[in-house]
Assembly symmetry: C2
Homo-oligomer: 514 residues x 2
């Protein structure tokens, strides 16, 4: 058995089922090993930012890691921006990067680069495997490290001679790491706060945003009157009728501060203290009032569900969950395209158990509110602020959940960063309905510029904000990659196109000009 | 004057005329300063890999740096793969990356990342500016560092509060660094080798591949009978009738070794010893015979032209240059599409003083040979082996040389990495004729796989090599970004399309199915 076979075999025995990949010459032995391993499905992305974001989307929905396979330093570099987002989403990924043969690294050949240096900022676990006999064990350790709650990125760098060398063996899969819970005093402190009668928000992240974790949070809220909030950046939020109401902290700092001002106390469950994404000359990052008491009940790596269950008991909570969303699906709108109308149309057409991937940016600020009580669904967001994640994140979510429909909401500017994901959707026949909000503008930048107090943008600034001249034609772009599409000119057409897309056997793209 | 204004003003007074950019919120004060600075032209790329490769192409043809403007760690990350190529091309670039306000960096906000760590492997000069009053000076130092021969990447990281802070000043432009020449003994040693009568190759890079540097190399060859070679990866090579003959070391290691076997001596002028890109289980990196004597006459940072002029005198060379290419333009071919036919068609239609950007990969192996003596032209190659450079490199070359035609030869797989460059071509009306060689395959990978000795690729391997299913339609992709195009089905049509593209006022795309 060669090293590559031990890596692939160990991943397969550890339950890894999908490899998102864009390999190169130095990864051919790994490709050969994957070729003979039927338990792992290989999915090609035509750009590495597609590969890493797809692994992120897969992990968010499957709750377990996929692996990637990337070509040397440049392949990794192309995947970094979405690894940044994945690291912020705290998802498990086994990120496999090829390297030159160790014997080749003494030479300064064109593709040589310091892969560890490039990977380090994005990797909770990082190792260059040094021998074929060790590669299986390295793989098992990399896999185990991804499972430290809530999930981590392990980057395993595989020199070509380590992959092709013989004498390798399959490694035993390591037990999942223990899941720590906070000290009892911490839970008692939270209970005390919740019983104080002061206005309290519980800020949720990770596993507290869906399934049993969210139910437990809902029982705490029911027993204490605390409000459940989610920070603006989040990985996955379960929503819909019967699900606890969770309000999102807005992106715009002034709006976020206004929401948070109402609370005297904040309890963090896996979440971080909300901060403005950016500072400005007249405003810092802090959004919470200075007199607000903030405690961290669980860190991201502690067990939120068990902790919330214990908290329910301490506050005398019942099995009831409240307040919950009451079913409220808006009717399909018609008439001219407006942002509110598009939001209503998405809510009106969203299928049961849909997965919504949202990078609609300024165009989509009303999208979540409109759809919140329509049907049961999951909402996936951009966690790290690096735009260009929605299309490939949708790929990963669709691969993880073949029985669910994916609705991908993308701004036109964001979509252009990783538009190659459309091709993977077509090749894999993924049931993704893509909505491109085409305002032909980096709208957030024009908005930020207008806040600088330097007057209206001139020609050069507009050249950097406007992404028209020429206008992108997303129907042609989709067609060029095998994704059928349509451009709509009214809400009626948009609703009809959504219904068509959601009934089709593969991807469909809808361009909504704004 | 704020920091941003001092940065932009200092760049302008240092002769920087172009800013390739994809800015974000944290760079708005820099955008505002650029908006009021008419000496610097701002060009938007819809993805950062376009921005960095365009800066590379500009530098190769303009012989001086452009600046970039990138958004935080993710924007830099997206540009790294082509910065890798640019670093290998040894071109000057002032790489400007925004950073959060220093006051904001104490918080762990979504977009925070270790920008210095990410930039370090690609930057010869690297600094995070710490104050508005220092930013002008930092800019001048960054600019000066780009000019250390033959050119370097300076990465200047600009925190938002350093950009918006007042009290900044324009900095004095620093004098260009001295250009070292090798010790006389080194030149005498080379002369001795050249007069020895042994079979000698002079391996050229950098400024020895065009203009006066190449002429001087041609005079050395004329006087001594040495052969001029260029390593497979090179930045810019001048070719055509009357230009010294320079043969390229082939990519395929066995072919490269066969070429180099004929030489007893190699003299390196700015070039590195040729090595195989990759090792394989049965072959190392070294391509030169063990008994070959190799000396480094000039390092990349020494003055090749002056050194070669001195060498001409020592070997008693005359002003004559030989052997030179004799004009030999093939006739336009017709009939069915073949690789040889496409190469002949490019040679037959290439306009005088064209710039050819070549990432045609396996499809284009005959391209250079066919065009070598057609008309005077420059050939730009992929220096770092990170594919996805051709389209944006062509953007930069066209911006640098508005009076010259650019022919961009790209494989379909390579082109997909940075296809967003097509949009910038359309917006800027660049006279680029793009040829996409559509073999619907990562052909080099299938070829490498077949050399592994593990039999034919199975379904999973083919899924990773074949980029059809569905086929990309490049005419639609171009149309979606405002670039007109056509798919040809014969050499006659290809020749006609080339002529049409080369006569048009902007970009045109030709898809050549293979």
């Amino acid at each position: 058995m060669n090293g590559a076979e031990s890596l692939v075999g160990t991943l397969a025995s550890g339950g890894v089922e999908v490899c998102f990949s864009n390999p190169g010459t130095s990864e051919m032995h790994l490709v050969a090993a994957l070729d003979r391993q039927t338990a792992i499905r290989c999915i090609l992305g035509l750009f590495e930012g597609v590969v890493t974001a797809a692994a992120d989307g897969y992990a968010r929905m499957a709750g377990k890691p996929a692996c990637t396979l990337l070509h040397l330093g440049p392949g990794l570099a192309n995947g970094l921006a979405n690894l940044h987002n994945a690291a912020r989403a705290r998802v498990p990924i086994v990120n496999i990067v090829g390297q030159h043969a160790l014997s080749h690294l003494i030479h300064d050949t064109p593709l040589k680069s310091d892969i560890e240096a490039i990977a380090r900022p994005y990797s909770a676990w990082l190792r260059t495997s040094q021998s074929s006999s060790q590669l299986g064990r390295d793989t098992a350790e990399a896999l185990a490290a991804t499972q430290i709650l809530p999930g981590q990125i392990s980057t395993l760098i595989v020199p070509a001679d380590v992959a092709w060398g013989e004498g390798a063996t399959l490694a035993t899969i390591l037990p999942a790491p223990n899941v720590p819970v906070p000290a009892d005093e911490k839970i008692e402190q939270a209970a005390l706060m919740l019983r104080s009668g002061r206005r309290t928000a519980i800020l949720l992240a990770g596993s507290a945003l869906h399934g049993e974790g969210l139910s437990a949070a809902g029982r705490v809220a029911a027993a204490t009157g605390a409000k459940l909030l989610v920070p603006y950046p989040f990985a996955r939020l379960e929503r819909g009728p019967g699900v606890p109401i969770v309000d999102r902290v807005p992106y715009v700092p002034e709006q976020a501060a206004a929401m948070l001002r109402e609370f005297e106390q904040i309890i963090l469950v896996g979440a971080e203290i909300p901060m403005a994404y950016f500072a400005s000359p007249n405003r810092g990052a802090v959004l919470t009032p200075p007199e607000c008491s903030i405690i961290r009940l669980t860190t991201p790596s502690e067990d939120a569900e068990t902790t919330l269950d214990a908290l329910v008991e301490m506050v005398g909570g019942s099995p009831a969950i409240s307040p919950i969303e009451k079913a409220n699906r808006p009717p399909a709108p018609n008439g001219a395209i407006t942002l509110d109308g598009l939001a209503q149309a998405v809510a009106a057409t969203l299928p049961e158990n849909a997965i919504v991937v949202d990078e609609s940016m300024t165009a989509g600020r009303g999208m979540m509110a409109a759809a919140r009580a329509s049907v049961p669904h999951d909402w996936l967001g951009n966690t790290g602020g690096s735009i260009g994640i929605a299309l490939p994140l949708a790929v990963g979510a669709a691969v993880a959940c073949p029985d669910r429909r994916v609705v991908c909401l993308s701004a036109d500017g964001s979509g252009m960063y990783t538009l190659q994901a459309l091709w993977t959707m077509a090749r894999e026949g993924l049931k993704i309905t893509i909505v491109i909000f085409a305002n032909r503008l980096y709208s957030v930048l024009r908005w930020e510029f207008s806040n600088l107090g330097v007057g209206a943008p001139g020609k050069q600034a507009l050249d950097l904000f406007e992404i028209g001249r020429p206008d992108l034609n997303w129907v042609d772009l989709g067609k060029g990659m095998g994704v059928p599409g349509t451009r709509v000119t009214s809400l009626d057409e948009f609703v009809a196109a959504m219904r068509q897309g959601l009934a089709s056997d593969g991807p469909m793209l809808i361009e909504a000009p704004l």
